[in-house]
C-alpha cells in the first residue's frame, strides 16, 4: 500500500509497483522525520547534557563526567524514591488493567450500536478536561471534611472521616482516573476484533465463563492490554503533578525529584541522567515482561 498513490484511491489497473522498501520508507518517513526533528534530536541533546558537569548554558566550561549516573550510588535515598515510583506505577497499571478491561468487555458484550458509541465517547471525554483541574477537584473530594465525608455523613451522621488526601492511595487514585481511558480504549479495540463464533463455539463445548475469560478473551486481547500498560506505566513513573498535589508529604517520586532538578536546582545534567536511567529501567521491565509473555504463549 504505497502512500503516494493512496490519496486518490488509485484505480485497480495501476501497473506501477514500487519496490517494497520504498513503500515502507514512504509510510514511515512523515512520522519518523517529525519525531526525529521535534523530539528525538532534542532528547538526544539532553542525553548528551547528562554527561556534563553542569548545565551547559552560559559561559561555563564544558566538562564531561559520568558522576550523574552514579546518583543512585551516591545518594542511596533515591533507591527508596525509585521504589515508591515503581510501586505507584505498578498499582496504577494493575488497577487500570482490571477496571479498564472489564469496562471494555462490558461495552463490547453488553451494549451495541449507537448506545455503545455514545458510552465509549462518554468514557473518553473526561480526558478532554485539563489534568491539573481534574487533580485539583479530587483534592476537594477526598480531603477530610470534603465531598466524600459530606456524602458519607448524609447517610450516617457519625461516620468517621474517610478523607485520605496526602497518602499514597490518593496519588494512585488520581493517576488511575487520569489514565484509565487509555486502557479502556486499547482493550476495546482488541476485544472488538474477537469473533463471536469463537466464544459461541467454546460455550457449546461447555466452557464456563472463567475458562472463556482467561483462555480466550484475555489471551486474544493481550495486544490491547500490553499497549494499554505501556501507555500507562511509562508516563506514570515520571508523573509529578499528581504526587505533588495529592501526595502532600508522601508525594516524593522520581517525577518530582527530576522536576526539582529542572525547576529549583537548575541541574539539567542530573535531571536528565535520572530520567534516562528511568527510561532504561522502564524498557528493561518491558523487555522482561514481553519475554515472559512470549514464553507463556509458547508453553
Amino acid at each position: 500500500m504505497p502512500a503516494e498513490a493512496g490519496a486518490a484511491g488509485a484505480p485497480a489497473t495501476t501497473r506501477f509497483r514500487p519496490p517494497p522498501w520504498l513503500a515502507t520508507a514512504a509510510l514511515l518517513l512523515p512520522s519518523y522525520a517529525w519525531l526525529t526533528l521535534a523530539v528525538l534530536l532534542p532528547l538526544g541533546t539532553m542525553f548528551a547534557f547528562s554527561f556534563l558537569e553542569a548545565t551547559p548554558l552560559g559561559n561555563r566550561p564544558v566538562e564531561w563526567t559520568l558522576r550523574h549516573y552514579r546518583a543512585f550510588h551516591d545518594q542511596p535515598y533515591l533507591l527508596g524514591v525509585a521504589w515508591t515510583s515503581l510501586s505507584i506505577g505498578l498499582w496504577t497499571t494493575a488497577i487500570c488493567a482490571v477496571v479498564g478491561f472489564a469496562t471494555a468487555l462490558a461495552l463490547v458484550r453488553a451494549t451495541a450500536g449507537r448506545s455503545r458509541e455514545t458510552l465509549l465517547i462518554l468514557l473518553l471525554l473526561p480526558f478532554w478536561t485539563n489534568g491539573l483541574v481534574r487533580v485539583f477537584s479530587w483534592t476537594m473530594v477526598i480531603r477530610g471534611g470534603g465531598f466524600l465525608d459530606v456524602a458519607a455523613r448524609s447517610v450516617w451522621p457519625d461516620a468517621p472521616s474517610l478523607g485520605f488526601l496526602y497518602t499514597q492511595p490518593a496519588i494512585v487514585l488520581g493517576l488511575v482516573h487520569g489514565y484509565l481511558p487509555y486502557m479502556v480504549l486499547t482493550c476495546y479495540i482488541a476485544l472488538l476484533a474477537i469473533d463471536d463464533a469463537v466464544i459461541e463455539a467454546a460455550m457449546s463445548l461447555g466452557a464456563r465463563w472463567p475458562t472463556i475469560l482467561f483462555r480466550i478473551l484475555v489471551p486474544l486481547a493481550m495486544p490491547g492490554l500490553v499497549t494499554g500498560a505501556i501507555l500507562i506505566f511509562v508516563p506514570v513513573i515520571g508523573a509529578f503533578m499528581e504526587p505533588r498535589i495529592l501526595g502532600g508529604r508522601v508525594g516524593v517520586t522520581m517525577g518530582t525529584v527530576i522536576e526539582d532538578q529542572f525547576t529549583q536546582a537548575f541541574n539539567w545534567p542530573l535531571g536528565s541522567a535520572l530520567a534516562f536511567t528511568m527510561l532504561a529501567v522502564v524498557l528493561g521491565v518491558f523487555a522482561t515482561f514481553s519475554g515472559v509473555l512470549r514464553r507463556t504463549a509458547q508453553a
Binding site: T24, L27, E117, A193, V234
Partner: protein, 259 residues
C-alpha cells in the same frame, strides 16, 4: 449478566465524572478558594466573559488540538501500517523509539525542545507548539492503531488482494473500514494529548499568544480562580454536545462494531 455489565459501566462513569462534576459545581461557587459550604454564584462566568485573554487562549487550544489530531493521526496511521504490516530490519528499534517521548517527563522534553528550537532557529510560537504537539501525539496514535492492526485479521486483505485487488484498493475497501474504530480512537487521544499539554506549550509559547493549559499552569503561583472551572466546564459541555451530536446523526459504525 447483561444488567450487571451495564451497572458496572454506569459505576465506572460515576467514578470518571465525579471530579468533573465537582469542577463544574465549583465554577458556580462564590468562594475564590473553593471553600465550602456551597454558595451559588454566576460571578465567575461574568468574570470570564470579560477575560479576553483566557477566551483567546481557549480558542488557540482548540485550533492547536484539532490540527495536532489531524496531522498526528494521518502520519501515525501510516507508520503503524508499516510497523505492523510489513517486515523489515530495524522494525523493533523503530518501535522502541516511540517510547522516549512518552517516558521522558514532559518537563525535560519541553526544556530540550526550547533549547533545540532556539539553536535551530525554529523559535517559539504557535508553529513551534504545533510541531511539539504532533511529535508527542504520534507515538500514541501509532501504538493505538498498531493495537488495532495486531488484533485485526491480515488474511482479509490478503484474500482481497488474491481476488485481484491492488494493495491500495484492498486498503481502502478492507483494511481502512476495519481499522476505523482504532483510527477514530487514536484521533480522540491525539486531541486529548494536545488539549491537556501544558508543559511543552508553556516553554514554546510566545508572550501574548498562549493556550488554555498554559494560562492555567502559569496561574498556579498566584492561584487559579473558579474562572478556570468555568471555562473548562464550557469547553467540556461544548465538546460533549458536538461529539455526541456527531455520533447521533452521523452514519453509525464509526466507533462501533465494524466486523
Amino acid at each position: 449478566m447483561l444488567r450487571i455489565a451495564r451497572l458496572y459501566i454506569a459505576l465506572v462513569l460515576v467514578f470518571l465524572y465525579l471530579p468533573i462534576v465537582v469542577m463544574a459545581a465549583m465554577g458556580f461557587n462564590a468562594s475564590p478558594l473553593y471553600a465550602l459550604p456551597f454558595e451559588f454564584s454566576t460571578r465567575w462566568y461574568q468574570d470570564l466573559a470579560g477575560n479576553d485573554r483566557l477566551i483567546e487562549a481557549g480558542w488557540n487550544s482548540i485550533w492547536l488540538a484539532v490540527l495536532t489530531s489531524v496531522l498526528a493521526t494521518v502520519f501515525g496511521t501510516l507508520a503503524a501500517l508499516a510497523l505492523w504490516r510489513r517486515s523489515f530490519r530495524g522494525r523493533n528499534l523503530l518501535r522502541i523509539l516511540l517510547l522516549p517521548p512518552i517516558a521522558i517527563p514532559w518537563l525535560i522534553t519541553g526544556t530540550a525542545m526550547l533549547v533545540f528550537f532556539f539553536w535551530t532557529g525554529i523559535g517559539r510560537g504557535l508553529h513551534a507548539m504545533l510541531i511539539g504537539h504532533v511529535a508527542l501525539a504520534i507515538p500514541y496514535v501509532v501504538l493505538v492503531v498498531g493495537t488495532g492492526l495486531q488484533t485485526m485479521r491480515a488474511d482479509l486483505e490478503e484474500a482481497a488482494m488474491s481476488l485481484g485487488s491492488t494493495p491500495v484498493h484492498a486498503f481502502f475497501r478492507v483494511t481502512l473500514p476495519l481499522l476505523l474504530p482504532s483510527i477514530v480512537g487514536a484521533a480522540l487521544f491525539a486531541f486529548a494529548v494536545s488539549l491537556d499539554q501544558f508543559v511543552i506549550s508553556y516553554f514554546l509559547s510566545v508572550p501574548g499568544m498562549t493556550t488554555l493549559p498554559v494560562e492555567i499552569y502559569s496561574a498556579i503561583r498566584k492561584g487559579f480562580t473558579p474562572e478556570i472551572n468555568a471555562i473548562s466546564t464550557i469547553l467540556l459541555v461544548a465538546s460533549m454536545i458536538i461529539i455526541l451530536g456527531f455520533a447521533r446523526f452521523a452514519r453509525p459504525g464509526g466507533l462501533g462494531d465494524s466486523r
